[in-house]
Symmetry: C2
Subunit: 497 residues, 2 copies
């Protein structure tokens, strides 16, 4: 990996100045193209040993670029707001908007590498984490975020010697420097670190996001090389060639073969006993209150998704859940038109924003499944985009599950006749009228398409860590009891499905 990088790479001052003059103009042109088109964002991940010039590179890029569209994203010890959520949350929080450039110090690779070299991550956990980062980077690339992953190469031991020279008698630094590996001191520690770094670079160099290993012994060569790499990245981002859509794999029989509907298999005549309903409801709510206010819940968290036909009773079911929760520790998220800050970032960003702290509850009244339901049916998303969404959603939910959250998803199903009855009822009642829009009538005409999309969705995203529960909802009371019971039962097994 580092073979040629270990050979001398040097530039004279004149050579550098020539290169710089050429670079600056082109970099600015490319940057403005990206800023104007707002089709893509760029993240420059600056990694490497200490003393190798990570900070100098950042400063140099600020000088070369228009710094109004550049931001530094740096990650040290996680804050408690970060620790209270999945590990990926803090990186998601900062994804730069399209048109902008993020300079990243202490990227996710740094954290992985550190934990591995310190022996905190075993072999298989390390490999799993590397795989996950590859998939996350692939998702970013598909969503218009171009990564430039730079490894500034210098022997770790040599870099330590350089760093030492930067320190004054009292240990203070003469110039600012990005010190990330201070705890690796002995030759043995450093060898471990170098070994883990090599492996990480091997394993996470993908076609979508390869590592660029830059020889860093000579600062002039180093800066010119990074500038050149960034220019290439910006140029590609400006023309925003999305990864060419692969020919889609075939995973289902042709459309004209009969496809049984999951909803068709439900017994929608099921109903709650009106006589015992209130009592059962109160008992289930009390169990939910106890489960979510127990000390042990502080390290968990609950993410509940409600999807279903229009007028299936999502609001009423959510209300019965909500009533049992501490109002300070839940939040209901409806889906509304994305803001421009959301549109400028990957699709899942708007949902990552709302991942609750551990110990809290987030209820999504419609959710990230919009992409494979309404966006698919209405043609708002291209086929390759909603096709890849299944895996991205599974990754997202697995991340939540692996971090202690209980993830539950409910599909509230009613028959077409029952829906018609409810629409008419809504038209008649003043304070329900606002719930009915012309769109609801239009959606109704696409009943079969939504049913097919829903069947695919459940087939592809009902996972062990985040199963779908189909709820027969022609009888509202039955639906509410079943929803609540499913939640408290799953919490009772500590979220294991």
């Amino acid at each position: 990996m580092f073979e040629s990088a270990s050979l001398p790479h040097v530039m004279t001052k004149t050579e550098f100045e020539d290169a710089e003059a050429r670079l600056r103009e082109k970099l600015l042109d490319a940057q403005f193209e990206v800023a104007d088109r707002k089709n893509a964002a760029v993240m420059v991940l600056v990694n490497g040993a200490d003393g190798v010039g990570k900070g100098e590179i950042v400063n140099r890029l600020y000088d070369w670029l228009d710094d109004h569209f550049v931001e530094t994203l740096s990650y040290g010890r996680p804050t408690d707001e970060e620790r209270a959520r999945p590990g990926a949350w803090r990186y998601w929080r900062d994804v730069p908007a399209k048109g902008r450039i993020g300079l990243v110090l202490g990227s996710w690779h740094h954290r992985l590498l550190r934990n591995r070299a310190l022996g905190r991550l075993g072999r298989s956990a390390y490999e799993k984490a590397l795989e996950e980062s590859i998939r996350a980077e692939e998702m970013l690339r598909h969503e218009g975020v171009h990564l430039l992953k730079i490894w500034l190469h210098m022997d770790f031991a040599e870099s330590r010697r350089r760093l030492k020279k930067l320190r004054q008698g009292n240990g203070a630094l003469r110039r600012p420097a990005v010190v990330e590996w201070d705890e690796f001191d002995s030759a043995r520690d450093i060898a471990k670190l170098a070994e883990a770094a090599l492996e990480m670079i091997e394993r996470t160099s993908t076609g979508d996001a390869p590592w660029a290993v830059v020889p860093a012994a000579d600062p002039l060569y180093r800066d010119a090389a990074v500038g050149d790499l960034l220019l290439q990245t910006l140029t590609r981002a400006a023309t925003d060639a999305p990864p060419s859509p692969r020919t889609l794999a075939i995973a289902a029989p042709a459309n004209d073969l009969p496809k049984p509907s999951l909803v068709g298999a439900l017994d929608l005549t099921q109903a709650a006993d009106p006589a015992s309903y209130s009592q059962e409801l109160r008992a289930l709510q009390q169990r939910l209150t106890e489960a979510t206010t127990a000390k042990s819940f502080d390290s968990r968290g609950l993410v509940i998704v409600f999807e279903g036909n229009d007028a299936a009773g999502k609001g009423g079911a959510i209300r019965r859940v909500r009533e049992a929760l501490d109002p300070r520790r839940f939040r209901v998220h409806g889906v509304s038109a994305p803001t421009d800050e959301e549109r400028a970032r990957p699709y899942l960003w708007r949902f990552w924003r709302n991942v609750p702290r551990r110990g809290d509850v987030a209820i999504f009244d419609r959710s990230w499944y919009g992409r494979v339901l309404v966006e698919r049916v209405e043609g708002f998303a291209a086929t390759e985009d909603w096709m890849r969404a299944y895996q991205e959603i599974n990754d997202f939910e697995r991340e939540l599950h692996d971090n202690g959250y209980v993830v539950m998803k409910f599909w509230l199903a009613i028959s077409a006749d029952e829906q018609l009855r409810r629409f008419q009822d809504r038209e008649a009642k003043p304070f329900k009228r606002y719930k009915l829009t012309p769109e609801d009538w239009r959606n109704r005409e696409k009943w079969a398409l939504y049913e097919a999309a829903m069947t695919d969705m459940v087939d592809r995203t009902s996972s062990r860590h985040a199963p779908w529960t189909l709820v027969e909802a022609n009888d509202k009371k039955f639906a509410r009891l079943k929803t609540l019971k499913t939640i408290v039962d799953r919490l009772g097994t500590n979220g294991k499905a």
Copy 2:
């Protein structure tokens, strides 16, 4: 304050149901009006003793309203990200967007009251904090955020008895309840709390944001009363009557009297000695590095504002500061067009977002002063809006200062001739061309207006806690040295001006 609220207020079930039927429809109508017009936000502050139904009120409002435009904002112990910033930051962070309703549990009043009753805030600090909250609420009102401050009234001792009944044998709650005052147990503690609450309600009931004291012994009356108050608030927010602009006070002689210009009084011929410039620059940068990497800086933080004429050299001055900083601990914020999330909130919100953690440095390349400079000169802001901005800005900066931050503001001044020379130079150099826009030429024609606005700005916002430094910038090197020297000198005195 509580005289009439202590009398019995009760409603029969029938009375309540009549009232509710009327309320629900009107609440929804008013809410949709607010949501559609997006002119105003509403915050409902739910305060009062425990066991008095704070959580029940929140649930009731979710039922009555369309919950897609409602969010609960609740505040307990500050997180470390919150503690790392001024106390007001966490409330700013959550201000609901226009069109939305926030239900607030544990508002800033709660925290004040608690600290006062626990004896952590002395008399004068408490009164100062109350005054600050009044001014912040006034600002919110001017910016289209309508506050409904509800105090659910019940005797604290009675409320404790009610809460006890809610607990099971093992201490767990039978139903969720908002418990905020658990540490106040003895009769003496409770008396202190009641006394402090009374004073707070007296002192912070203003014309813009009065407290509504709601008798809470009867849940039906309580809910109907809150619903009615909210309906009034929503109706007012829907018609969005901004507080009638008071006749502006006269604070300056008439415009046709000669007004000396602050810039006119500067000696712009000052220049750095080219022979010693590099050495002086390096020495100052090293002092800045030392000051900002010292342990003691971790509890401070630095906020630097750069304003000045176009082409005055802000970018170059910022660069010399930046080079001396740890790239992980500073951020440069340019001003660009506000996003829709920013436009939906009070003016200062976009800057509060960027208040750095303590120990970090934020550099603003143009800033919140836009309101009293470009927005005033170009007529983008109404006179009463930029007139009140001076005080709001002073409050903002004082808040930063009181929380340990060093706030510094630089005006880089060049002569009109020097500007012309630099514009022409920019036109000639390829990688500087992007810095010159037609707007720069237009601004240049309004030189005198900008100079007057700048003079007013410095007169009104150069405070002891956040002084302006005027920098003679015809010679770029002189300007860079003066800027750096001012910063390191002020840091050397621990930020005392």
